[in-house]
Amino acid sequence: MFENLSSRLTRTLDALRGAGRLTEDQVNTAARELRMALLEADVALPVVRDFVDQVKARAVGAEVTQSLTPGQALLRIVQQELTATLGGKSEALNLRTQPPAVLLMCGLQGSGKTTTTGKLALRLREVDKKKVIVVSCDVYRPAAIEQLKIVARNVEVEWFESQAGQDPVVIAKSALEYAKKQYADVLIVDTAGRTAIDETMMQEIAALHAALNPIETLFVVDSMTGQDAANTAKAFADRLPLTGVILTKTDGDARGGAALSVRHVTGKPVKFIGVGEKSAALEVFHPDRIAARILGQGDMLGLIEETTRKVDADEALRLANKLKSKKSFDLADYREQMQQMQKMGGLDSLLEKLPGGAKLQAQVQKAQPEREIKRAIAIINSMTRQERRYPDLIKASRKRRIALGAGLEVQDVNKLMRQFDQTREMMKKMQGGGMAKMMRSLAGKLPPGMMGPPR
């Protein structure tokens, strides 16, 4: 729906090629594009203004190195500034206090406080091996307390009982008392959602803060929030000494400009991001990744990380060596290749991290690559060892048998054989240093730094 920033900048700036440094004219032209792109990503206007000025100041006169176009050069500056503004590096929860360490959750209605409370509790229990107690001070929304009770049971942490109609401050105090007696490491206090202009409710959260003296006061904000993110964050920060921010629902396709607004307005680090409805779907915040996302460039780092985690490196190496040592690429190798692909969680999870992936994802979904891979494997499984080694053996009658064995049609077998032939052709080309050549030519086309340090 929105043109991403890199194509915007490249389009407007690359016409003005040639200069060794970015000129003021160029930067001003680009500033407009940058402003629009940030607004479309829901970054709050005052923040956009500050940020654009910041970029301008740095960009004018900046050197355009030979390998880069002016657009790319500027984009790099924008990206660096954005990452810096977002906090540079990720920050962990602060639990350095006499236990119990109290975490107070606050935010607007529907931002995801209760769900996040559960996710945090799970993370603290599992990853940090802490004894966690959760309590809900939301005495207003129907079944809010019940919701936390269920969430707590699901993540297997203790839930301190509270009831609608009780005074939130009284609940908080008795929960703290209880947590002390139980020698709990962490007490997470969930609160009702409130709008920042609701004076009574804002007084209540301030009273809760005073009663609990929490080590972390976490502002929970929906990543889809628009311009209001800045106002609300400011209003909360004025009343409460916030210590961190949690950005929720980032598994959607919102650009997440709210992260920049909130960070800029409160000066507090984003500590975690919610990435799904499951209790484990909470990730440490990486400023550089959100920066890339706001700019519409996709989460390349996350993608690379996921790929390296999932692909069995030994297996891949073995396959590669085998291909090198052997003259021919046979159907058994082809099957192994596809099994590797299956292990990577399919194209789906990869695509969603690529720039413009959401759209691609929808298209790919229609083609059902997952099912195709499964079928191909089934077909190869129905062959004899001999057939896998010498695919040329497979003629009409064998095809009929294989199709029957896989529960498919002969056409499907034909299709697989055609795909296999194509892959084999490609493999042949890649042998004899072809691969290295391909990588070299690719490297020239990628932005610097993306290839990673040479291993």
Partner: protein, 317 residues
């Protein structure tokens, strides 16, 4: 936060109460409009100022450009010289934008039960809206039933139960973890058997990018159509007024999955300006049904473009 709010729904006071509720009486668009004039002349940067206000309200680049270009045209043609004229021009432009989408929900007598799906992303206020809507319809003399289709989120059924009790309408549920499509299918057949006028089906909040969850919505629709090939008669998307430009993506994706017939904008009582309504009106031809103005049971009003625009472009704001 009061749960019982007195209603002032007499036509005359509606604009006033709407004004009071929208951003606590602070019209984001036209506060100190007089300041855009100096010595009875519109200041040079007036259009820029308005543009900024629109952008700050999440109206989005597209709707904002459309509005400011229109005003700029009137300005150059010399039609805007005074504050009153500027107000009138703004009012007219906003009405042109919003009137076509202000189509209230209509329940024809020959459709019974009138099946309504309520969908949206997580945390926009679907359940709360259903509670308020059921109360409203019951007060209008309709027999209403609610289906607890959100079987996923913890305590969603309990939350809806509380609302159903408040509204005094029956709730059909199978508890948490049940199949959403099956609950709603049951509810539609129950509504048929009992001769209810309206059945409102809650659904679990889902991000529009979760393909399998969008498929689940398609399934619910398919299953319900076995009982009534024309159901659902209304598929209402609930959008949070604090949402930014992502609201458009939400609407497009939900529309592609189950075909939306209306939108309700919630949480307009907060500090968010809900300008995303303008973006929605500009980009999608979807009727806006209701606006949510608080957590009380009566804090839901049918969307009326004239009242809404009057509340924004008041003469004393």
């Amino acid at each position: 936060m009061s749960l019982e709010t007195p209603v002032g729904n007499r036509e005359s006071s509606l604009v006033k109460s709407l004004r009071a509720r929208l951003n606590k009486g602070d019209s984001w668009l036209t506060y100190d409009l007089g300041r855009l004039f100096s010595a009875d002349k519109l200041r040079e940067d007036a259009i820029d100022q308005l543009e900024e206000r629109l952008l700050l309200a999440d109206a989005g680049v597209d709707a904002t450009n459309w509005l400011t270009e229109r005003l700029g045209y009137d300005l150059r043609a010399g039609r805007i010289k005074t504050e009153v004229q500027l107000r009138a021009a703004l009012r007219k432009a906003l009405l042109d934008l919003l009137l076509p989408v202000a189509k209230p929900l209509d329940f024809p007598a020959y459709i019974k039960p009138y099946v309504m799906f309520v969908a949206g992303v997580n945390g926009v206020g679907k359940t709360t809206t259903i509670g308020k809507l059921a109360t409203r319809l019951k007060r209008d003399g309709k027999t209403v039933m609610i289906a607890a289709g959100d079987t996923f989120r913890a305590a969603a059924v309990e939350q809806l139960e509380t609302w159903a009790t408040r509204a005094g309408v029956p709730l059909i549920s199978q508890g948490a973890g049940a199949d959403s499509a099956s609950v709603i299918y049951d509810a539609v057949s129950a509504a048929k058997a009992r001769g209810a006028d309206v059945l409102i089906a809650d659904t679990a909040g889902r991000l529009h990018t979760q393909i399998h969850l969008m498929d689940e919505l398609r399934k619910i629709k398919r299953v319900v159509q076995k009982l009534d090939p024309f159901a659902p008669h209304e598929v209402m998307l609930v959008v949070d007024a604090t949402t930014g430009q992502n609201a458009l993506n939400q609407a497009l994706q939900f529309h592609e999955a189950i075909g939306l017939t209306g939108v309700t904008l919630t949480k307009l009582d907060g500090s968010a300006k809900g300008g995303v309504l303008l973006a929605i009106a500009r980009r999608l031809a979807l009727p806006v049904r209701f606006i949510g103005l608080g957590e009380g049971i009566d804090d839901l009003a049918p969307f009326d473009a004239v009242n809404f625009v009057d509340a924004l472009v008041g003469d004393d704001a």
